[in-house]
Amino acid sequence: MPRPGKPEPRSLLEDQPVIASDRIPARDRSKPVTEADIWALLDEVKDPEVPAVSVVELGMVRRIAEEDGEWVVDVTPTYSGCPATEMIEDSIKEALQLAGIRNGRIRRVLTPAWTTDWITEAGRRKLQEFGIAPPVGSSSKLTLKGVDEAIACPHCGSTHTERVSEFGSTACKALYRCLDCREPFDYFKCI
């Protein structure tokens, strides 16, 4: 059970080196690149709007494959108007280049549309720890007039919460308030 109140602010210096090139996990460059190397690499690329989780944990990276001597990374944007899409693609390119992979390419894939069902278990746990309630339920069960399931407060765990606004600080989140610990929090909408 997480203790009530906001999570401790994490020190940037403690667990994340300031120099960008140091953040990329070292890859043994004497060996050829494998698909697993790239998955591991991209698991370090964060969504700038939800820095707690990686683009892999969010389910945005759909496929990594070598095609005609190129490493092609299929990326599915979360929302049509997500302003972070370009930045995320740039970050992926940057990560590939810093790891010495020069023949990388990104392909934007719209079908099938991204769904919160693709967020991994680790991703959900990290969202929770970061203070964002992870999506509840399955997107396929969403209905127009359906009532949302009870959303648990990420700070104290209480399901005694209320929705303040259908939209929160970004398009992918809604704004909630916990009626027990009184903290407002973001809920990652089920879409």
Binding site: G81, T111, S165, F167, G168, L175, K189
Partner: protein, 258 residues
């Protein structure tokens, strides 16, 4: 519109309608940035606007590829004048009070929702994929705007009166949204666009249901309707929106020199 309209021409025209309506409503909502009635509402409005501009971009990109005359998605958005715009008259109407803002949103969202629900099944894979993405977003838009219509309608005497006035004032722009012209008929017959009769019935059904629940009186169905947006005849408001939206591109074309 000539009788010999090909399916390709109809599709280009239809994509511009979808894109322009998204773009203009997105632009209208952005006018409320910094002055929405409450912080939560401002965030919601800006997020809805962001979704719409993102969807517009997807439609413009596809339209630009099909039109294939050297114009990019940006050119289509920023270098066409009012008579070339194909957005619904509804979305260019001023924000007014919040009952008008939400009434306009609700009428459009309901049309948008059923239109996208149909386009998801289009055999054109590009259309289906853009629509699938957008449909999920618009579901949230519609949920929110219908909740506001109910809250205002079934709220205080003042909010009820304002919501009824907004519904009555905006009603004249609803007709053209659910009335199919050659373009929409052509696409329906080609198996791409929504069934016009079904769309109109779904729209009316939902609108009546929400207005009734909101204790509002639905205006008469045979009320006189404004038309013209589908061939570029707009209300006076569109010119002002474009003047602001396209200013930078017109003053500094392509902004190549900084």
């Amino acid at each position: 519109m000539s009788k010999a309209m090909t399916q390709q021409e109809a599709l280009q025209e239809y994509l511009l309608r979808l894109a322009d309506s998204d773009m203009i409503l997105g632009q209208r909502l952005c006018e409320l940035c910094g002055k929405a009635p409450a912080l939560e509402e401002e965030m919601a409005l800006m997020n809805v606007a962001l979704d719409l501009v993102g969807q517009a971009r997807n439609w413009y990109e596809y339209a630009a590829e099909l039109i294939d005359d050297g114009r990019s998605a940006d050119d289509l958005a920023f270098r066409r004048d009012a008579h070339d715009y194909r957005n619904a008259l509804m979305v260019e109407q001023p924000n007014g009070d919040y009952a008008v803002t939400m009434g306009r949103q609700f009428f459009f969202d309901a049309w948008h929702y059923f239109t996208l629900a149909s386009l998801v099944k289009a055999p054109d894979e590009r259309i289906a994929s853009i629509a699938a993405k957008a449909a999920k977003e618009v579901q949230y838009h519609l949920r929110r705007s219908s909740e506001w219509v109910k809250r205002f309608g079934d709220g205080t005497e003042e909010s009820h009166q304002r919501m009824q006035t907004a519904v009555d004032d905006l009603w004249r722009f609803t007709g053209e949204m659910i009335e199919a012209d050659d373009v929409e008929q052509t696409l329906f017959k080609a198996g791409i666009g929504p069934n016009p009769e079904q769309l109109a019935a779904d729209w009316k059904g939902l609108v009546n249901e929400v207005l009734t629940e909101a204790t509002l009186t639905p205006p008469p169905e045979d009320a006189w309707m404004y038309r013209g947006a589908k061939v570029g005849h707009h209300t006076e408001h569109l010119g002002y929106i474009l003047a602001e939206m396209q200013f930078l591109q017109r003053a500094y074309p392509d902004a190549k020199t900084w």
